[in-house]
Symmetry: C2
Subunit: 327 residues, 2 copies
């Protein structure tokens, strides 16, 4: 366990697994130095907390691996850069670990970090620094930087009445996966199609090329769908002083792959599509005259601001989605 | 308490206290956009964990305020940028908070963040984003960026035999303050000079102008003294493949102000000077021919690599200082 190692020895176990940092100054000094050729840097920070954002052991019998936690931390951070239309350039990661954490678990986390960067296609990104400390619960915080490559950042506030509303990535799969992991149905014995949903919850796959593609295609507004389509659409609508109307028929393609899990759990798959976060897809608005870039599907339209910021087929829906505090 | 608020409402309490973010895109979108006129960005991350890096209640009766925690998080992060010879440009801060945390405590934390930025003189720095979540223990992680203003970053690895070793800022005061806070002597009844030491532990004051000044003056190596002078000198020495010899006589000016606290606690003040971290002063090496910039005091010399990376008057000393893991 990590209590048997000093900080330097643990870092020596971690950093080789992360691969080289292709930056002017990488890990090992007081701070790193990264290139910012655009003369601007995009930056965000996101945290995963044990028993809040993931369970180490689930009712379904699944045990969250270090690899899962490393992957998920990276994925949710890269997604924030993607949602600005930028390309990720670096990560700094702070780990707070119980002293009893097995060293192999931390090594697995490092492998998950490296794998997520590589497999999600963040070719220009590497881990350039970090911090290690102890605590009673596992907390992983990453800050991520990005490069706009000369483009304007795509904000939440630019949607205009008449724009098309489109999404990239998956919707509802992570929420279905969460319900499966949280159920008493042993996930190890589940069909591969159900395990695939749980995998999206544990290791989400944000569509990293879609953000810059949307920016190039003239997206007027964009954001990461992290708290549920309806809730996030309402946020985009408020930021833009418009209404977003979603079309139920256009969402059927997202509902269909969730049918098996919904039948097993007695759930409504449309609720997962409308209310589920953590897929880290993109919600985007485009001028109606433009063709949607590859990977985007039209799911609604922007209207003049009305009685509700987000509607389904013109009708208000009670916002469902995740908020980190009760309220 | 914060459980009574949703995330958005809590953010509305926090952000106005942080002052305006003078950046292209500030808080409220998926990520912020900051200027990087140098075409490079310096970046680091650091975490404070309750009961590891600070106690909410100390044996001396002191109760750590939100202001203290906000200040300390900012100070230790700004110090890492300082130690590269750069100027801080932005902070992103992630708060993990128990649901029972009073809202006023979090507001006080925001005030401490804003005050540290202002009073430490980080004129170009503002809080540009953050993340809020719940957990059983309080965890504050900040990532900080900096601008090198066209200078080379000053690394740990550039010290050369013959260089002068110098420090800026205070040494041992935070360690003395830690011992006072951790003692049974009621801090509220202590003399002002002792309370001032405790204040340095709770709200360290890194010398933020010294880092860029050292870089301009031709510093060959530099680092933040966060884990103790001897331990950090050994790290700088190893990174530079040299030895650092410290002069006990030159450290007497740092020992003297600790005498009263040492007498009260029966401690050796030189141990605080040599082993105490958290003042976040700077350890720096300069070519012998150069005049030291304002704020720096010569405390040793760089030698060819010898039997020990760091020595005191030529003799090896057992490394004392803080390591976050046992080992």
């Amino acid at each position: 366990m990590i209590n048997d190692l000093d900080e330097g020895s643990l870092l020596e176990r971690i950093f080789p697994r992360l691969g080289p940092a292709n930056v002017p100054v990488g890990p090992g000094d007081d701070a790193a130095v990264i290139d910012a050729p655009d003369a601007r840097t995009v930056i965000s920070i996101d945290t995963l907390v044990q028993d809040q954002d993931f369970r180490l052991e689930w009712p379904s019998g699944y045990r969250t691996t270090g690899y899962d936690v490393g992957w998920k931390s990276v994925a949710q951070n890269l997604s924030d850069i993607n949602a600005m239309g930028a390309v990720p350039t670096s990560l700094v990661i702070s780990l707070t670990l119980p002293g009893s954490t097995p060293v192999a678990w931390v090594e697995d986390l490092a492998d998950g970090v490296a794998a997520a960067i590589r497999k999600l296609g963040a070719d220009r990104c590497s881990v350039v620094g970090g911090d290690l400390g102890r605590g009673d619960a596992l907390v992983v915080t990453a800050a991520v930087t990005g490069d706009l490559e000369g483009r304007f950042p795509v904000l939440r506030s630019g949607a205009r009445p008449g724009d098309i509303v489109a999404v990239a990535g998956t919707l509802g799969k992570a929420a279905a996966g969460l319900c499966l992991l949280d159920s008493k149905h042993p996930i190890a014995e589940a069909r591969a199609s159900l395990q695939a949903l749980a995998n999206i919850q544990s290791r989400p796959e944000p569509p990293l090329h879609a953000g810059p593609a949307a920016a190039k295609a003239g997206a007027t507004a964009m954001m990461d769908i992290s708290d549920g389509l309806l809730r996030d659409a309402a946020r985009l609508a408020r930021a833009s002083a418009v209404s977003v109307d979603l079309f139920a028929a256009a969402l059927q393609d997202f509902v269909e792959p969730l049918g098996e899990a919904a039948a097993l759990l007695g759930a409504d798959p449309m609720e997962w599509v409308l209310g589920g976060g953590e897929d880290h897809g993109l919600l985007c608005t485009f001028p109606a005259a433009e063709a949607l870039p590859d990977g985007f599907v039209a799911v609604g339209a922007v209207r003049e601001s009305g009685s509700a910021p987000a509607t389904l087929d013109g009708a208000a829906v009670q916002a469902i989605g995740w908020d980190h505090f009760g309220g």
